[in-house]
Amino acid sequence: MAGVFEPSANLIAKAALLVFLEVLLAGLGWWFFAPRTDYASAVGWVLDQPVPFSHEHHVSGLGLDCRFCHTSVELSATAGMPATETCMTCHSQIWTSAKLLEPVRASFARHQPIVWNRVNALPDYVYFNHSIHIAKGVGCQSCHGNVGKMALTEKAQTFEMQFCVNCHRDPGPNLRPKEALFDTDWHRTAATPPPDALMAQYHIGGRGLTDCSICHR
């Protein structure tokens, strides 16, 4: 009696097994890697904003300090977003009829706030505090990237827990001298004090910086 399967059945079976395995691996790979892509975490993507505000123009071009608008960054957990009044300090004098700035003028005139789309977000169970990071020598650039080069503001880091923990495990390399904290394009040079010296200068150590309770409550 002839066999039920043709000799080619072996090949088909092997190929099918292989395809099954590949699909499985691809699926696992997708499951693991997809959330870790910049696409998923929206790094480098620009969101629509009511006013196409350019950090590049205001910071690199005009030389405004970060703290001119983000006033509470040294005081409070949040850096603070400027009130319409802050924009109008200058824009009641210059570019007073620019169409791009119509939402700002409307906000001021109608007493309606400008609603910005959030670029950098942390989950609600993370209690990040801007002021302590500034006080301990972590510059804005470390998390927000070189905003001086951003014509439109984009997210510079994934803000996954790994990003935070890497620095909390070994803060030294990410510290910078006080005068460079608000420099959006700073790089370590030969003259920069070494990480250990900065750690000592900022009195870092003695806290369990990787304890859950440092960021979560």
């Binding site: 929206a42 006033t71 509470s72 005081l75 409070s76 957990a77 949040t78 603070g80 977003m81 400027p82 009130a83 319409t84 009044e85 802050t86 906000s107 001021f108 007493h111 309606q112 706030p113 400008i114 609603v115 910005w116 789309n117 959030r118 977000a121 989950p123 609600d124 169970y125 209690y127 505090n129 002021s131 302590i132 006080a135 301990k136 009195h203 003695g206 806290r207 369990g208 304890d211 859950c212 309770s213 440092i214 979560h216 409550r217």
Partner: protein, 951 residues
């Protein structure tokens, strides 16, 4: 430690009911029922589906489309992320207690104490704390209504102006105003101005929780109204007769602080407190000797005291056996002894107590007399009686009820007579019974929304400042009175500022920021004691006396819609969401009823069927009922909660078994410790302490197999002084407010699923008839060798470098192993999405604390958010955290400063000093868990001349 007398937690345990003991011993009592039923296929599929959905729900990264909405102009003084506090006062029945309101992002979110205020010294009671919940209560009155139809302020103004001609013509005859007790200088000035315009108008006062006897007693004793202010820190011997010194009296927070300051023998000489009570109250908990006495015994005791102290005679025959020793103790401390009697006792008793206090030389020492704090100290029962009679006779055309709810709290005759009034107006925060019965209802601004002023128990004035704009277009009583006076656009600020026109702008702002107007304390007066004011009326001759007391938290019912207060275990019964009739065990035996059995009460032709609760330490001839329950017109929370005992008429009370039972939710047997209670709350007598200061210590625990925790420079720890705890529950509500702890409702409490991170365990010691009460606040002990941590399969509960046992909610998968392994039973599990379904509005949540999801374990964190804030502040300034810089929510609220918290590695810290006390002990120390919370054992300053019957 006392090994003689048994200690027990609930009646069933005392009686040794084996089924009950087995049930409460199970970690998850609800589980047994489910397991017994066994799983069926449908249920398993349902659960699988639910857990899948739950798991996938956890993968949601959250709403990526966040918005940032900055302001138009930055408001001065408000920085996002930095909190503000503004002083104001919580006014209850006229008397102010200073508070501060904590704001996050410009929103009021928590009521905390005001250390500058004399009535609280920084403490805050549960009622004041719960006001934040009522501010955002969605069931508040939302607008003017006329005949239960929506109307507007304009239409009310028009309607009133139409009546004004007639009122003018009658010179105010037929116009009446009804308020509660008034201490507000502004309100008094407004009423006086209105009286000037309408000379025939009458102002009535009626407070549901009556203090008429206190007023009249002072008048009988001194011939004029005076206010007694007690200086309990100066009293060596205190006799409290049916007293509310620590629970409801004006200034009770200050009283508690002053008494507690004299109760720890390590800190200084102890005072001695005697309590004579018909029904247990907080002073009886703190007392060294508590005597159970019904109305007849109280009468006898007072008569005998008068004989012994005023006439130096020997106690009369028939006087209680303990009386001679107490009288002798009082007499032996001239100038340092004090007697206090509660407002429910007759005025003549009060007059006698004034005479006794004078005879004991207390004036200027243990008490001061000042001008009355109230603006018009009248007999309110008479005032209300006149009003009802005039209404019934049709003599009243226009009635304005300011902020009170007499249709619920006054006798039913009031509601009946109110129907005769053609134009009646009620001003109230909620749509209550009175709002339904009057022709007009006006929404009143919440106390946190309005300008006002009020006096504290010692006369000190606080200016109440609004914390937010009125949420529902409401107006304050001041604004409504100004409207009546003809002001078209009344402005609360201008009205109150005008009263205080003599304050310069600087002084005004100073008063607003500190919360007290300096120099306004009551003027001392020096009236002579009238003679002959010491004759007592005949004792009551009722078989059973009904004691109607205000509920400690719902008060006269005005807080019935507060879920926090509904679910706050009552100090002595641990009951929630209900108010059964409290009876003595002897009476219950006679009636053949037990806890939860229904009885029929009849009095004055009315009947009421209610469940009973056996209250150990209750006088046999008294039954106690708490007012404020059984509200008929109330928001969603207070509906169908409890029974309204005011439905009973006057006259002799009869109680009979009705048959049937009623489910009562109590937490008294929840979360039991698997240990003999005698060692749990260590206690002894002062004599024992004097003989051996270490008498509460036990041998050190055995060596541990675990390696010691690494020693850092910071180690958070807490010490709780059991001598100071009075069980008022201020800490429990403070914790709930601070840590976003949800309420769960009566059904879930019956399943033992209440979520309070901090509870106060109550034990009885001795007989059911006259037990002593032992209290123990219980919270996460933050064990150095934490049993919960080793059993967690996912590392969701771990230690941090400063010794905190932290919960990582995101890791928790809800195995509940930790709770099972916790010897202190302080872990709470979210069986449902309690936080999501909660009544607390999102505005009243603390932004600094995560809200926990379903299926997650939670517990006390030592207010980790406050530690984090202090740590960041200190690190920014490159310094160590100072002692006292981190104050936990429970510690801040505590009126008696029973709780100390801080760094135990710093030997100079307050908590380290408390832990070094010879009374300090670790709870269940034999388990080697090395808890970071320790207790100071309770010492009783017993009078050796009094032999108490042991059980």
């Amino acid at each position: 430690m006392s090994a003689r007398t048994p200690t027990w937690r609930s009646l069933a345990e005392h009686e040794g009911d084996p089924a009950f003991i087995a049930r409460v011993a199970a970690e998850f009592p609800g589980l047994a029922r489910v397991l017994a039923e066994g799983p069926d296929r449908r249920q398993v599929l349902k659960l699988m589906g639910a857990s899948l959905a739950l798991g996938l729900g956890g993968c949601d990264p959250g709403d990526p489309k966040g918005r940032i909405i900055p302001g138009i102009k930055a408001p001065p003084g408000i920085v996002p992320g930095i909190e503000n506090e503004y002083a104001t006062a919580s006014v209850l029945d006229g008397y102010a207690t200073g508070i501060r309101v904590r704001h996050q992002a410009g929103r009021p979110m928590q009521v905390v104490g005001n250390p500058a205020h004399p009535a609280s010294l920084g403490a805050v009671d549960p009622i004041a704390q719960a006001r934040i919940l009522s501010l955002y209560d969605p069931d508040r009155s939302h607008g003017v209504s006329h005949g239960n139809q929506q109307a507007g302020w304009a239409s009310f103004r028009e309607a009133f102006e139409r009546r004004r001609t007639a009122i003018d013509q009658r010179k105010g005859d037929g116009l009446r105003i009804l308020t509660g007790t008034v201490t507000s200088p502004t309100l008094v000035a407004q009423l006086a101005a209105l009286q000037g315009r309408y000379p025939l108008m009458r102002w009535h006062q009626c407070q549901a929780v009556s203090r008429d006897a206190v007023r009249l007693g002072a008048r009988l004793a001194y011939g004029r109204p005076v206010e007694a202010v007690y200086r309990l820190d100066r009293a060596d011997v205190i006799l409290a007769i049916d007293s509310d010194l620590l629970s409801t009296a004006p200034g009770h927070l200050r009283h508690a602080r002053d008494v507690a300051g004299r109760r720890n023998p390590v800190a200084g000489p102890m005072s001695r407190v005697y309590a004579v009570e018909s029904t247990p109250d907080l002073i009886g908990v703190m007392a060294d000797h508590r005597f159970v006495a019904g109305p007849r015994e109280i009468h006898q005791a007072l008569t005998a005291l008068a004989a012994a102290i005023l006439r130096q005679g020997s106690p009369q025959p028939g006087a209680p056996a303990w009386l001679a020793a107490v009288a002798q103790d009082l007499a032996a401390h001239p100038g340092r002894a004090l007697i206090h009697i509660g407002p429910q006792q007759p005025a003549e008793y009060h007059a006698l107590v004034h005479a006794l206090n004078e005879a004991l030389g207390g004036r200027g020492r243990t008490f001061d007399l000042i001008e009355p704090v109230e603006a018009a100290p009248i007999d309110q029962a008479t005032s209300l009686g006149d009003l009802i009679a005039d209404m019934a006779d049709g003599r009243i055309q226009d009635l304005l009820i300011l902020g009170e709810n007499p249709v619920f709290t006054a006798p039913p005759a009031f509601a009946e007579a109110l129907k005769q009034v053609p134009f009646s107006v009620s001003l109230g925060v909620e749509l209550d019974e009175t709002a339904q019965a009057t022709t007009w209802h006006l929404p009143e601004a919440h106390p946190l929304e309005a300008w006002s002023d009020a006096r504290a128990y010692d006369g000190t004035v606080t200016i109440l400042q609004p914390q937010v704009q009125p949420l529902f277009g409401a107006h304050s009583a001041h604004e409504v009175l100004a409207l009546l006076a003809g002001d078209r656009a009344p402005d609360g600020y201008a009205i109150v500022r005008a009263t205080w026109a003599k304050l310069s702008d600087d002084a005004w702002h100073g008063a607003l920021s500190s919360g007290v107007v300096s120099g306004t304390a009551g003027r001392p007066v020096d009236p002579p004691l009238r003679s002959g004011a010491t004759v007592l009326p005949a004792p009551p001759d009722r078989q059973i006396t009904l004691l109607l007391r205000p509920d400690p938290y719902l008060w006269d019912g005005r807080f019935a819609n507060s879920a926090w207060l509904q679910e706050l275990p009552r100090p002595l019964t641990k009951l929630v969401w209900d108010n059964p009739l409290l009876v003595a065990s002897a009476l219950a035996r006679r009636l053949g009823v037990g806890n939860g059995d229904l009885v029929k009460l009849s009095a004055g032709g009315a009947t009421l069927t209610v469940p009973v609760w056996i209250q150990p330490g209750q006088a046999e001839d008294c039954v106690t009922a708490h007012r404020g329950w059984g509200r008929r017109q109330v928001g969603a929370v207070g509906k169908n909660a409890g029974f309204d005992f005011l439905a009973l008429g006057d006259g002799p009370l009869s109680v009979e078994k009705a048959g049937g039972t009623y489910a009562l939710a109590t937490t008294e047997h929840h979360n039991p410790l698997d240990a003999a209670p005698d060692g749990v709350v260590r206690h002894g007598t002062l004599a024992g302490f004097t003989a051996d200061r270490q008498f509460l210590q036990t041998p050190d625990p055995q060596a541990s197999l675990y390696p010691p925790q690494p020693a850092g420079t910071m180690a958070w720890g807490m010490s709780i002084d059991l001598n100071a705890c009075i069980g008022c529950n201020a800490c429990v509500i403070a914790c709930q407010a601070e840590n976003n702890v949800p309420v769960v409702g009566k059904d879930e409490v019956l399943r033992e699923r209440e979520m309070h991170w901090l509870r106060i365990d109550r034990y009885f010691e001795g007989s059911v008839e006259a037990p002593r009460v032992l209290l123990q606040p219980m919270l996460c002990m933050h064990c150095e060798e934490a049993p919960c941590e080793v059993v967690c399969p996912v590392g969701a509960t771990v230690h941090d470098a400063e010794g905190l046992n932290v919960m990582v909610y995101n890791r928790c998968v809800g195995t509940r192993f930790c709770s099972n392994n916790c010897p202190y039973k302080v872990r709470r599990f979210n069986y449902f999405a309690f936080a999501r379904d909660e009544v607390r509005s999102i505005q009243a949540r603390n932004q600094e604390v995560s809200v926990r999801a379903r299926g997650v374990m939670e517990k006390c964190s030592f207010c980790i958010q406050r530690i984090a804030a202090a740590r960041i502040d200190a690190d920014k300034e490159d310094r160590a955290i100072r002692d006292g810089e981190v104050v936990t929510a429970c510690q801040a609220a505590c009126p008696t400063q029973a709780i100390s918290f801080g760094n135990i590695r710093d030997q100079a810290s307050a908590v380290a000093r408390r832990k070094a006390s010879p009374l300090a002990y670790a709870l269940l120390g034999e388990l080697n868990t090395k808890p970071r919370v320790t207790y100071e054992g309770r010492v009783r300053n017993a009078n050796p001349a009094i032999v108490e019957p042991s059980a």
